[in-house]
Amino acid sequence: MNHILEIIGLVLLLIGGTFLFLGGLGILRMPDTYNRLQTGTKATTLGGMSVILGVGFLEPDWLIKTLVLVIFIALSNPISSHALARANYKRKNYPYLKGGKEYDKYREVYQKEEEEETA
């Protein structure tokens, strides 16, 4: 039983480490803010959750605490990335799209929101 838990924990650590590495690489390699946010938060959410859960499997006494941490990351990381992306959009740094503005589906929603706010 202990053996199985250890193997699960090590595999989770490996997955988490890989995704954290890819997230760090993406921040260096990606061209603009939105793509960097994607690697900097999506990849690190999965990576961080896997690493913490892996530690929980390696040390079964800490499993409940690590689960709480995983829930905290699942709540906080996507919300902060959303807030950063929205703030960037509000500063009129629109994403670069090959086809032009009509591919930016968020703009209509955003303009409607702006009108509601000013009204």
Binding site: S76, I79, H82, A83
Partner: protein, 231 residues
């Protein structure tokens, strides 16, 4: 010209500091028989405190910590008086609009968790790393999150200053009670309990809890004043 002056002043100060530092005896033999042995033996044995740093900060150097808390209080007061340009009305804030629905809902969910974490950190200050200052800062970040997410979220300055003053008075009172019992300020006068228990360490947990409240209230007030700054 100004830059040259600044560099020369820094060089003179640096030379003085370096001269003083070179006179100190750094080295292994200097630390073998020092005050560190007393701290390392006395904090688990006599005070029953697992975290030696806490034992030093709150008990052996407790008077210093009272001074630190006072410095923090003065710093926040000075900061508030600098930032406070005339009376502000509601709505005149650096955060003019509420954040999106995702952020507001998320902060509502996360706020109790952050406060709980801060309280955990300062209540377990004598057992685990962290303590009053760190826990207080975590609590202040919770309030910062709420203030950034909601444009109409307000904190009562009266309540904050009452909490702050009560915490400070409790700290000083405990110190004076130690004086009554043992002769020195902040002398431990309560039962120390068993090592690694939550209720151990005598007066140390109580003092750290008051520091946590004080730092949390002070930094929250500071953030609130800074956000209400008028242009």
């Amino acid at each position: 010209m100004k830059r040259v002056l600044v560099i020369s002043i820094l060089a003179v100060l640096g030379a003085y500091l370096a001269e003083a530092l070179f006179q100190l005896d750094f080295g292994r033999q200097f630390f073998q028989n020092g005050v560190k042995d007393f701290y390392l033996i006395a904090s688990p044995d006599k005070l029953k405190v697992a975290n030696v740093i806490t034992a030093i900060v709150v008990n052996f150097r407790g008077f210093d910590t009272l001074g630190e808390v006072t410095v923090l209080f003065l710093a926040t007061t000075a900061m508030g008086s600098i930032l406070y340009k005339g009376r502000h009305k509601l709505g005149e804030r650096a955060v003019l609009f509420s954040a999106s629905k995702i952020v507001t809902t998320g902060s509502k969910l996360l706020f109790p968790a952050i406060i709980l974490l801060g309280a955990y950190v300062f209540i377990h200050g004598h057992l685990t790393p962290g303590g009053g200052f760190q826990g207080g800062v975590i609590i202040a970040t919770g309030f910062l999150l709420m203030l950034l997410a909601y444009s109409d979220y307000s904190v009562s300055h009266v309540v904050l200053s009452v909490i702050e003053s009560l915490a400070g008075i409790t700290f000083a009172t405990i110190g004076l009670l130690g004086m009554l019992h043992g002769g020195t300020f902040l002398q431990n006068f309560m039962a120390t309990g068993v090592l690694n228990n939550l209720l151990s360490g005598g007066i140390i947990p109580i003092i750290y809890i008051t520091i946590g409240f004080k730092v949390g209230a002070e930094l929250t007030g500071l953030i609130y004043t800074a956000l209400n700054e008028k242009d």
